[in-house]
């Protein structure tokens, strides 16, 4: 009831539009343009830059997973590097030991990520805020050494993966092929995340985040939804880990240090913690800012990195997308105001 009324209201407001087109249409056009740009980009760039952008998209998927958990459900995780590692090792072991083709490892990594997340989410239900952060931190610090312990993970030496090659007959090189492979996974991930977040599940997550007692009073099964948020989040991050193993072609315990987990959180916060687009900006931050800091100063790159982080947080405390969002809303409101007053009238009647 409430939902449909709100939906109608939004719909009517959106009709306002710019230059004769509805805002919603503009948005769709914008997204389509971005996808076309993303698809065209690799053909104008060197192989190395294509590789870099592939990594950006991989980090974006991982951050998207963290955003679902932290941004939309209010659970802080410092351990997503551990789930990233789980996905990477799932892919690596399947490829290396069982000869599974690289693309077929993604569902397995997704399953491993989801199962681990749910298992981890169950005890995590008892913890809130900083305590949950500590529990997940345990995951991050334990991961590298755990990976060294078992022989089937390749121990200290890690695992070399067979090179993921484009399908024979396709006139495209390996870097560009992997770019498109990851791009498709990213688009699917965004689509799935958007569907969940804009639907019933997403609203339940946000209700729990904003006021869990009120959410429970409304009949939301908080335990189930929090566990689901954990599992969904780690599923995304594990898939990103598997992609990283495929693209880099090598996994070792050192690849998944505590800093990786922290990077995800930084990328998430900088991009905009409760946004989908912010995950992509987060990916850019994770990939480029450390390199950029190194270019500026050999002696103190981490000081530059810290400074960049501070600047971002100071200028845009809700992350890039989180801060730009209100600006867009304001612009939209302005264009709406200039639209016919008739609309406002019909709104007020339909809202009754």
């Amino acid at each position: 009831m409430n939902d449909s009324a709100a939906a109608i209201a939004t719909e009517k407001l959106a009709i306002g539009g710019i230059a004769g087109l509805r805002v919603d249409t503009w948005r769709r056009l914008g997204i389509a343009a971005l996808i076309v740009l993303a698809a065209a980009l690799p053909f104008g760039l060197s192989n190395y830059h294509v590789f870099e952008l592939t990594l950006v998209m991989i980090y974006a998927i991982a951050v998207l997973g963290l955003n679902i958990l932290t941004g939309y459900n209010g659970q802080i995780s410092l351990g997503h590097g551990g789930f990233f590692a789980a996905g990477a090792y799932a892919a690596a072991i399947l490829m290396h030991r069982y000869g599974v083709p690289y693309w077929a490892t993604l569902p397995a990594a997704a399953f491993v990520g989801f199962a681990l997340g749910v298992l981890f989410g169950l005890p995590a239900l008892r913890f809130e805020g900083p305590y949950l952060a500590l529990v997940t931190l345990a995951m991050a610090v334990a991961t590298p050494q755990t990976l060294k312990y078992f022989s089937w993970t390749g121990g200290q030496q890690g695992i070399h993966l067979a090179k993921a090659m484009p399908p024979p007959g396709l006139p495209i090189d390996r870097d560009r092929w992997l770019y498109f492979f990851v791009l498709v996974v990213l688009l699917i991930a965004i689509r799935v995340a958007a569907n969940m977040l804009n639907g019933r599940t997403g609203r339940a997550w946000m209700a729990i985040r904003d006021h869990s007692i009120a959410a429970a009073a409304m009949g939301i099964h908080t335990a189930r939804y929090k566990t689901l948020a954990f599992g969904t989040s780690t599923l995304f991050t594990a898939v990103a880990g598997a992609l990283s193993a495929i693209v880099v072609g090598f996994v070792a315990p050192e690849s998944f240090s505590l800093f990786l987990s922290l990077s995800f959180l930084v990328g998430s916060a900088v991009g905009g913690i409760a946004t989908i687009g912010g995950a992509i900006l987060g990916g850019f931050f994770i990939e480029f800012v450390p390199n950029f800091a190194n270019d500026i100063s050999d002696a103190a790159p981490w000081a530059i990195y810290g400074l960049a982080m501070l600047l971002f947080m100071y200028a845009m405390p809700r992350g890039v997308v989180g801060s730009v969002g209100p600006l867009v809303a304001w612009l939209r409101a302005r264009t709406r105001r200039s639209a016919a007053g008739e609309q406002v009238l019909s709104n007020s009647t339909s809202a009754k």
Binding site: H49, Q145, G155, Q156, Q157, S244, G249, F250, E254, S255
Partner: protein, 406 residues
């Protein structure tokens, strides 16, 4: 504009690669080399868990800086691009691709660590970019048949173990050998090296082996089991923490084998002292550089030249760190290879010159140690000198010994 530039850059890089691949580049220069410059790259853990090794990168940069001040090599300046990979393999891949594809380095030199080098091993060999004098001691880097673009520098773990085997064959013919090793490639390199060095006597002489995991709390039970085998020789291939435990336990249970201790775990500060100095008396280990804290070298011109270099380049704080001597000798090897390459600075020729070292001597290596390589031997240092612990320091004894047993 920028896209166009990048495009142009990309296209020319592709063109260059094609040209090299098809051997149309009849000129004397590979990527990154010109009449005035030789561009090379490496990754180092300047931050992160292995950052204590970052000093090696500083020694490299300082040494090339000194060479450039003196006019460079055959009139060309060396540009070393050194980047921080924090010992994280994915980062290494990314940085190395950047150096090879964007910065166009002629080759990679002295990249540090087994996992980071593993991660770029295939990439560099596929693209025929030399991966020279890697800073890791695993035996796998000496595999010219499968990886003709990768060369090691440190005496490998296997080399060191074969040196112990030679000593045992010569001086302890009745040896019954027990081996304690770490259960990974590093520990197994030592075990396999010992077996190879002993040859057909290995099966008879090695009476017991015990391994430990790095997650084990102690190696006490392993030592007790090894003693029970009746062995009179013990080889300990362990990292510092476990090496110290082994030394203490051997002493405490009253076992008196001839104890060989791997160089990975023979530091006085981190192994011998924690174990108890008196408990380590008589232990044998091996070395190949002049330890800067050893008084016998401190009046030699070689030591003074090294000290002068260190002090002039802001490395005074590191003059007791034997690592820096290792780095200093490594970079001297590189300079010698570049000199030998002359005006033919192609990747092929760099590799060819690196594989043609013949009795190269370096000032801070132990007297008698020479570097030798060939088309099927990518392990330059195959000699070490044995040393015995006297309760305070290591004392070199005997001659420099070769792994091949000659």
């Amino acid at each position: 504009m920028t896209v166009k530039q990048t495009l142009r850059g990309g296209l020319s890089a592709v063109g260059l690669m094609l040209a090299c691949g098809l051997a149309y580049a009849a000129g004397q220069y590979g990527p990154g080399a010109s009449d005035t410059e030789i561009k090379i790259g490496n990754t180092m853990p300047y931050s992160g868990p292995a950052s204590s090794y970052g000093v090696l990168g500083k020694v490299d940069a300082a040494y090339f800086g000194m060479i450039n001040q003196q006019g460079g090599i055959n009139g060309r300046k060396i540009t070393l691009i050194s980047r921080d990979d924090s010992y994280s393999p994915p980062k290494t891949v990314e940085l190395v691709r950047q150096m090879v594809e964007q910065d166009n380095v002629l080759f990679m030199y002295h990249t540090l660590g087994t996992p980071p080098n593993m991660a770029i091993h295939g990439y560099l060999n596929d693209n025929k970019v030399p991966q020279l004098f890697v800073a890791t001691g695993a035996d796998q880097w000496n595999d010219p048949k499968h990886f003709p673009w990768t060369m090691m520098w440190l005496p490998s773990y296997g080399t060191e173990s074969r040196i112990y085997a030679n000593y045992i064959l010569k001086n302890l013919p009745d040896a019954k050998i027990a081996v304690l090793y770490q259960n990974d490639d590093y520990g197994k390199d030592y075990l396999n090296g010992l077996r190879a060095g002993l040859g057909d006597k290995a099966a008879k002489m090695i009476v017991a082996t015990q391994s430990y995991e790095t997650t084990d709390p102690t190696v006490d039970s392993q030592i007790v089991a090894l003693q029970a085998s009746g062995a009179n020789v013990l080889l300990t291939a362990a990292i510092p923490k476990f090496a110290a435990q082994a030394i203490r336990k051997v002493y405490d249970i009253g076992w008196k084998p001839t104890h060989f201790l791997n160089s990975v775990g023979n530091s006085v500060g981190t192994v011998m002292k924690p174990a108890g100095l008196e408990k380590g008396v008589g232990i044998i280990s091996a070395n190949f550089v002049k330890d800067p804290t050893d008084a016998q070298w401190q009046n030699t011109p070689e030591y003074k030249e090294w000290l002068d270099f260190m002090q002039k380049h802001g490395l005074s704080a590191n003059v007791t760190d034997a690592q820096t001597v290792v780095g200093y000798s490594n970079v001297q090897t590189m300079v010698s290879v570049l000199k030998a390459a002359g005006n033919n600075l192609t990747r092929e020729n760099i590799m060819k010159q690196a594989a043609s070292l013949h009795n190269l001597t370096l000032p801070m290596l132990l007297p008698g140690i020479t570097l030798n390589t060939s088309a099927d031997d990518f392990s330059p240092i195959k000699q070490m000198q044995l040393q015995k612990f006297d309760g305070t320091t290591w004392k070199l004894f005997g001659d420099v010994v070769s792994a091949s047993g000659s």
